[in-house]
């Protein structure tokens, strides 16, 4: 019955969605932002800690959301650690393309590797109304990096 849903709900997604590894506020942080999906009430708060050089050291989040958005947030938190703002934004762009088209854009080696870990989110492109679930955490990331406090996934 749900065979075709396996594209959307891959094991990685179900697993990160159920048991996120980074689903907590950071004790100390340098930036934070909230993301809202006005269409459904989903919400994420993201915290970032920067390295002295200004790259992302750690990310943590609290979210109310579906399996897709929690998994996306958790994968994001895992993957952006170590990236500077420019690279993190490039990855956010790539995720956007991936979830809209299903195909990963070409990126340079270090980013390409991280993007590969996001591939389980590619299936979302077949479910237009769910794309925003996957991108909401990344909108919050952009907002935190820009120093804005709110983002929406419209």
């Amino acid at each position: 019955m749900f065979e075709d849903l396996r594209d959307l709900y891959q094991e990685v997604i179900l697993d990160h969605g159920r048991k996120p590894r980074h689903g907590a506020k950071l004790a100390a942080y340098d930036a934070t932002a909230r993301g809202d999906n006005p269409l459904c009430g989903d919400r994420i708060t993201l915290w970032l800690q920067y390295t002295p050089a200004g790259a992302i050291a750690r990310a943590g989040f609290e979210a109310k959301g579906c399996a897709i958005s929690i998994a996306s947030a958790d994968l994001m938190a895992e993957i952006v650690a170590g990236l500077d703002a420019g690279a993190a934004r490039a990855l956010a762009d790539a995720l956007q393309t991936l979830t809209k088209t299903g195909a990963p854009p070409t990126l340079d080696a270090p980013l390409a590797e991280r993007l590969a870990r996001l591939m389980p989110l590619a299936g979302v492109h077949e479910f237009p109304s769910r794309v925003k679930c996957a991108t909401l955490p990344w909108h919050a990331l952009r907002a935190a990096l820009a120093g804005t406090e709110n983002a929406t996934s419209e």
Partner: protein, 418 residues
């Protein structure tokens, strides 16, 4: 119900399969499965009668209204004004001039917030809404509060999801409340509010009562004279009619006192650059070319519902609701929100271990259309301590078998996420 002016409903036995044949969309398939449409509270499907009325207008008899002296315009004006008669009859309104056509319920409430709120209420007065309102009956009052110095008071609901009438009486006690604006039926909890009691309560404290009938009018006969409210709004697309049309009923003396809302053609008596004079009600509130085809479609929808009869519809839906509550309650991990004594055909719930979005997506793959989210009632979600629910809602075409399909579908969803 005002039986004097309402055409007698034939006491036909309610045959849901026969009625389903009136709705072409119900034979559609979705993801290779027969459509089970349980999202009627968001917007209902349209019977052939509505589609045919709109098509006939466009194919055979159409022109702009009111301003034309030619045959097509005269006939179209009659059809448009005939729709006003149909709405007046539907609501039991004493005077057809009390019906104002709007785009939807939202615009109707904004019209009242603007023209009654800014034009009649004075800064320092208060408006009361409840914890279980749709955003459309919250945001216009917030905007009024911020622009015009009106206090906004929120009356609580009980654990059962009913209005707390004692609390409401306390909110009214200081006599500052000019308007009470409440839903007639919650789009999340299904709760009917005790309309006539609310009217007495409001009036006893010198306040007017607006009822948001967006959901209520779909399921039950409404008579504004019996209720004795002051404003009533509803929206066409939930009542089996087209989008793009809604209606406001208000007592004529209130409409007369309210300044106009939008300016433009058709709402004026005369225009000069120095100053314009307004047309009489309801035209004062209908600026520009109105939703003509939509009014014609709405009139057909009203006639369709009246021919079936509200009592037959209500009986059918009560049966569906009982069945749904029983079936869903038996699903492990499922929580139903709201247990009002008097409730209509919507059931909101959460399922342990599965977010409402995921539930909706998995049901959709089984051909079952339900809604997931905050249902434009975020404050109610906060009140309930949740972000969102899944909601199944019924129309006159909903069957017991579809409820069963929902229950079975939910069991599969639980398994998937187990």
């Amino acid at each position: 119900m005002n039986t004097a002016t309402r055409p007698a409903a034939p006491p036909a036995p309610f045959d849901v399969e026969k009625l389903r044949a009136d709705f072409p969309i119900l034979t559609q398939e979705v993801h290779g499965r027969k459509l089970v449409f349980l999202d009627s509270a968001a917007s209902a499907q349209k019977p052939r009668a509505v589609i045919a009325a709109m098509t006939a207008a466009m194919e055979r008899q159409y022109a702009n209204v009111h301003r034309g002296l030619h045959w097509m315009s005269e006939r179209t004006t009659e059809a448009y004004e005939g729709a006003r008669d149909a709405v007046a009859r539907l609501l039991g309104a004493p005077d057809r001039h009390e019906i104002v056509f709007t785009r939807n319920s939202t615009e109707a409430i904004n019209l009242v917030a603007h023209s009654y709120g800014r034009g009649v209420l004075a800064p320092g007065q208060a408006v009361v809404i409840s914890e279980m309102e749709h955003h459309s009956n919250i945001v216009p009052w917030q905007m009024l509060r911020d622009a015009h110095g009106i206090e906004l008071r929120v009356t609580p609901i009980t654990a059962a999801g009913e209005l707390d009438l004692a609390a409401l009486a306390r909110l009214l006690a200081d006599g500052k409340v000019g308007l009470v604006a409440l839903t007639h039926m919650s789009n999340v909890l299904g709760t009917y509010t005790p309309a006539a009691r609310l009217a007495r309560l409001a009036h006893d404290h010198g306040a007017k009562l607006l009822l948001d009938g967006s959901q209520a009018i779909v399921h039950r006969a409404v008579d504004v004279r019996e209720i004795d409210c002051d404003f009533y709004v509803f929206t066409g697309h939930k009542l089996y009619g087209p989008t793009g049309i809604g209606a406001l009923w208000a007592r004529r003396d209130l409409l007369e006192r309210m300044p106009p809302f939008l300016g433009g053609g058709d709402m004026i008596a005369s225009v000069s650059f120095a100053r314009s004079q307004w047309a009489q009600v309801p035209h004062k509130f209908e600026a520009g070319t109105p939703p003509i085809l939509e009014a014609i479609g709405l009139a057909a929808a009203i006639a369709y519902v009246e021919a079936i009869g509200y009592s037959a519809i209500a009986a059918h839906e009560a049966h569906l609701l009982d069945h749904a509550l029983a079936r869903l309650a038996a699903i492990p991990g499922l929580t139903i929100f709201g247990r009002a004594q008097d409730r209509g055909g919507v059931v909101s719930f959460t399922l342990e271990g599965a977010h409402p979005h995921d539930v909706a997506t998995l049901l959709d793959r089984q051909g079952i259309a339900v809604r997931a989210g905050h249902h434009c009632a975020e404050p109610l979600m906060h009140r309930l301590g949740i972000e969102s629910t899944t909601r199944a809602s019924f129309g006159l075409y909903t069957t017991v078998a579809e409820i069963d399909a929902l229950a079975e579908g939910l069991l599969r969803v639980s398994e998937f996420f187990a």
